[in-house]
Symmetry: C2
Subunit: 118 residues, 2 copies
Protein backbone atom coordinates (compact mmCIF):
# COMPACT_ATOMS: atom_id res chain seq x y z
CA UNK A 1 0.00 0.00 0.00
CA UNK A 2 1.18 3.50 -0.74
CA UNK A 3 1.12 6.26 1.87
CA UNK A 4 -1.92 7.63 0.01
CA UNK A 5 -3.68 4.24 0.33
CA UNK A 6 -2.95 4.03 4.05
CA UNK A 7 -4.06 7.63 4.56
CA UNK A 8 -7.30 7.04 2.63
CA UNK A 9 -8.09 3.89 4.61
CA UNK A 10 -7.33 5.53 7.98
CA UNK A 11 -9.64 8.42 7.12
CA UNK A 12 -12.38 6.03 5.99
CA UNK A 13 -12.10 4.07 9.25
CA UNK A 14 -12.15 7.26 11.35
CA UNK A 15 -15.18 8.58 9.43
CA UNK A 16 -16.92 5.33 10.35
CA UNK A 17 -15.99 5.90 14.00
CA UNK A 18 -13.53 2.99 13.90
CA UNK A 19 -10.65 4.80 15.58
CA UNK A 20 -9.54 1.66 17.45
CA UNK A 21 -9.47 -0.37 14.25
CA UNK A 22 -7.40 2.28 12.51
CA UNK A 23 -4.82 2.16 15.27
CA UNK A 24 -4.64 -1.62 15.43
CA UNK A 25 -4.28 -1.84 11.68
CA UNK A 26 -1.65 0.83 11.10
CA UNK A 27 0.31 1.60 14.28
CA UNK A 28 3.84 0.24 14.18
CA UNK A 29 4.84 -1.66 17.32
CA UNK A 30 7.22 1.19 18.14
CA UNK A 31 4.77 4.01 17.31
CA UNK A 32 5.32 7.32 19.11
CA UNK A 33 2.17 9.34 19.85
CA UNK A 34 2.66 13.01 20.72
CA UNK A 35 0.06 15.42 22.11
CA UNK A 36 0.39 19.19 22.43
CA UNK A 37 -0.12 19.13 26.19
CA UNK A 38 1.95 18.72 29.34
CA UNK A 39 1.70 15.60 31.48
CA UNK A 40 1.65 11.85 31.11
CA UNK A 41 -0.05 11.93 27.72
CA UNK A 42 2.46 14.31 26.09
CA UNK A 43 4.44 11.48 24.57
CA UNK A 44 3.70 7.79 24.71
CA UNK A 45 5.78 5.13 23.03
CA UNK A 46 4.70 1.75 21.74
CA UNK A 47 1.48 0.30 20.38
CA UNK A 48 0.28 -0.84 23.82
CA UNK A 49 0.71 2.65 25.26
CA UNK A 50 -1.01 4.25 22.26
CA UNK A 51 -3.91 1.81 22.62
CA UNK A 52 -4.15 2.56 26.36
CA UNK A 53 -4.22 6.29 25.65
CA UNK A 54 -7.03 5.79 23.15
CA UNK A 55 -9.00 3.71 25.64
CA UNK A 56 -8.52 6.33 28.34
CA UNK A 57 -9.65 9.06 25.96
CA UNK A 58 -12.71 7.13 24.80
CA UNK A 59 -13.71 6.50 28.41
CA UNK A 60 -13.24 10.12 29.46
CA UNK A 61 -15.32 11.71 26.70
CA UNK A 62 -18.74 11.33 25.18
CA UNK A 63 -18.63 12.16 21.47
CA UNK A 64 -21.88 13.58 20.11
CA UNK A 65 -20.73 14.04 16.53
CA UNK A 66 -17.52 14.28 14.59
CA UNK A 67 -16.15 15.18 11.20
CA UNK A 68 -12.95 13.88 9.64
CA UNK A 69 -11.30 15.79 6.77
CA UNK A 70 -8.43 14.77 4.56
CA UNK A 71 -6.10 13.09 4.12
CA UNK A 72 -3.53 15.65 3.01
CA UNK A 73 -0.43 13.81 1.79
CA UNK A 74 3.22 14.73 1.23
CA UNK A 75 5.83 11.99 0.81
CA UNK A 76 5.83 9.67 3.81
CA UNK A 77 3.56 11.93 5.86
CA UNK A 78 -0.10 12.84 5.88
CA UNK A 79 -2.41 15.15 7.84
CA UNK A 80 -6.01 14.55 8.97
CA UNK A 81 -8.33 17.09 10.59
CA UNK A 82 -10.71 16.00 13.33
CA UNK A 83 -13.57 18.14 14.63
CA UNK A 84 -15.66 16.73 17.47
CA UNK A 85 -18.61 17.91 19.49
CA UNK A 86 -17.99 16.20 22.84
CA UNK A 87 -18.60 16.27 26.57
CA UNK A 88 -15.80 15.74 29.07
CA UNK A 89 -17.39 13.26 31.45
CA UNK A 90 -15.45 14.40 34.54
CA UNK A 91 -16.47 18.06 34.26
CA UNK A 92 -19.67 17.70 32.32
CA UNK A 93 -18.35 20.40 30.02
CA UNK A 94 -19.45 20.26 26.40
CA UNK A 95 -16.99 21.62 23.86
CA UNK A 96 -15.86 21.52 20.27
CA UNK A 97 -12.48 19.93 19.74
CA UNK A 98 -10.68 20.97 16.55
CA UNK A 99 -7.34 19.30 15.92
CA UNK A 100 -5.11 17.88 13.23
CA UNK A 101 -2.98 14.77 13.31
CA UNK A 102 0.33 14.56 11.42
CA UNK A 103 1.18 10.92 10.64
CA UNK A 104 4.56 9.57 9.56
CA UNK A 105 4.65 6.22 7.74
CA UNK A 106 7.53 3.80 7.44
CA UNK A 107 7.30 0.31 5.90
CA UNK A 108 3.52 0.58 5.67
CA UNK A 109 2.98 1.42 9.35
CA UNK A 110 2.51 4.63 11.33
CA UNK A 111 5.71 5.23 13.31
CA UNK A 112 4.68 8.64 14.65
CA UNK A 113 1.42 10.53 15.16
CA UNK A 114 1.59 14.11 16.34
CA UNK A 115 -1.49 16.11 17.25
CA UNK A 116 -1.94 19.88 16.93
CA UNK A 117 -4.79 21.88 18.49
CA UNK A 118 -6.60 24.95 17.26
CA UNK B 1 6.91 36.09 20.31
CA UNK B 2 5.83 32.56 21.08
CA UNK B 3 5.16 30.02 18.35
CA UNK B 4 1.45 30.56 19.08
CA UNK B 5 1.86 34.33 18.54
CA UNK B 6 3.67 33.84 15.25
CA UNK B 7 1.09 31.30 14.12
CA UNK B 8 -1.80 33.61 15.03
CA UNK B 9 -0.22 36.54 13.19
CA UNK B 10 0.55 34.48 10.08
CA UNK B 11 -3.04 33.26 9.95
CA UNK B 12 -4.36 36.81 10.41
CA UNK B 13 -2.15 38.06 7.56
CA UNK B 14 -3.21 35.19 5.28
CA UNK B 15 -6.90 35.78 6.09
CA UNK B 16 -6.34 39.37 4.97
CA UNK B 17 -4.79 38.09 1.73
CA UNK B 18 -1.36 39.34 2.81
CA UNK B 19 0.54 36.17 1.91
CA UNK B 20 3.58 38.12 0.74
CA UNK B 21 3.75 40.09 3.97
CA UNK B 22 3.51 36.90 6.02
CA UNK B 23 6.48 35.44 4.16
CA UNK B 24 8.63 38.56 4.39
CA UNK B 25 7.91 38.88 8.10
CA UNK B 26 8.47 35.29 9.19
CA UNK B 27 10.60 33.36 6.70
CA UNK B 28 14.11 32.71 7.96
CA UNK B 29 16.85 33.57 5.43
CA UNK B 30 17.53 29.83 5.13
CA UNK B 31 13.86 28.75 4.94
CA UNK B 32 13.14 25.50 3.10
CA UNK B 33 9.80 25.32 1.28
CA UNK B 34 8.56 21.87 0.30
CA UNK B 35 5.64 21.02 -2.01
CA UNK B 36 4.07 17.61 -2.54
CA UNK B 37 4.83 17.60 -6.26
CA UNK B 38 7.65 16.64 -8.60
CA UNK B 39 9.69 19.25 -10.45
CA UNK B 40 11.45 22.53 -9.78
CA UNK B 41 9.03 23.60 -7.06
CA UNK B 42 9.34 20.42 -4.99
CA UNK B 43 11.94 21.93 -2.68
CA UNK B 44 13.28 25.46 -2.73
CA UNK B 45 15.82 26.80 -0.29
CA UNK B 46 16.28 30.35 0.91
CA UNK B 47 14.04 33.36 1.36
CA UNK B 48 14.70 34.67 -2.17
CA UNK B 49 13.66 31.36 -3.72
CA UNK B 50 10.57 31.12 -1.51
CA UNK B 51 9.58 34.66 -2.52
CA UNK B 52 10.12 33.83 -6.20
CA UNK B 53 7.95 30.75 -5.86
CA UNK B 54 5.20 32.83 -4.29
CA UNK B 55 5.41 35.40 -7.08
CA UNK B 56 5.27 32.67 -9.71
CA UNK B 57 2.24 31.12 -8.01
CA UNK B 58 0.42 34.44 -7.67
CA UNK B 59 1.02 35.18 -11.35
CA UNK B 60 -0.15 31.77 -12.50
CA UNK B 61 -3.46 31.72 -10.65
CA UNK B 62 -6.46 33.92 -10.19
CA UNK B 63 -7.90 33.46 -6.70
CA UNK B 64 -11.66 34.05 -6.51
CA UNK B 65 -12.04 33.38 -2.79
CA UNK B 66 -10.13 31.68 -0.01
CA UNK B 67 -10.53 30.49 3.55
CA UNK B 68 -7.75 30.07 6.10
CA UNK B 69 -8.27 27.84 9.15
CA UNK B 70 -6.10 27.41 12.21
CA UNK B 71 -3.49 27.71 13.46
CA UNK B 72 -3.06 24.29 15.07
CA UNK B 73 0.00 24.37 17.31
CA UNK B 74 2.31 21.77 18.85
CA UNK B 75 5.69 22.80 20.27
CA UNK B 76 7.77 24.54 17.59
CA UNK B 77 5.40 23.57 14.78
CA UNK B 78 1.99 24.67 13.60
CA UNK B 79 -0.48 23.74 10.86
CA UNK B 80 -2.72 26.00 8.75
CA UNK B 81 -5.41 24.87 6.31
CA UNK B 82 -5.95 26.80 3.08
CA UNK B 83 -8.95 26.34 0.81
CA UNK B 84 -9.07 28.36 -2.40
CA UNK B 85 -11.44 28.71 -5.30
CA UNK B 86 -9.07 29.57 -8.15
CA UNK B 87 -8.47 29.51 -11.88
CA UNK B 88 -5.19 28.31 -13.37
CA UNK B 89 -4.49 31.03 -15.90
CA UNK B 90 -2.59 28.81 -18.36
CA UNK B 91 -5.37 26.24 -18.70
CA UNK B 92 -8.34 28.36 -17.78
CA UNK B 93 -9.35 25.54 -15.43
CA UNK B 94 -11.26 26.57 -12.33
CA UNK B 95 -10.74 24.36 -9.28
CA UNK B 96 -10.85 24.15 -5.52
CA UNK B 97 -7.46 23.82 -3.87
CA UNK B 98 -7.51 22.26 -0.40
CA UNK B 99 -4.15 22.02 1.34
CA UNK B 100 -2.44 22.33 4.69
CA UNK B 101 0.91 23.89 5.52
CA UNK B 102 3.10 22.52 8.31
CA UNK B 103 5.43 25.27 9.61
CA UNK B 104 8.51 24.76 11.77
CA UNK B 105 9.77 27.74 13.81
CA UNK B 106 13.25 28.35 15.16
CA UNK B 107 14.39 31.57 16.87
CA UNK B 108 11.15 33.30 15.92
CA UNK B 109 11.38 32.55 12.20
CA UNK B 110 9.94 29.88 9.89
CA UNK B 111 12.78 27.56 8.92
CA UNK B 112 10.61 25.06 7.05
CA UNK B 113 7.19 25.09 5.43
CA UNK B 114 5.83 21.83 4.05
CA UNK B 115 2.59 21.63 2.08
CA UNK B 116 0.20 18.68 1.93
CA UNK B 117 -2.65 18.31 -0.57
CA UNK B 118 -6.06 16.74 -0.21
Amino acid sequence: MTVQDIANDLVALCKAGEFDTAGEKYWADEVVSIEAMPGDMARVEGKDAARAKGEWWAGAHEVHSSTVEGPYVNGDQFVVRFTMDLTQKASGQRMTMDEVGLYTVRDGKIVEERFFYA
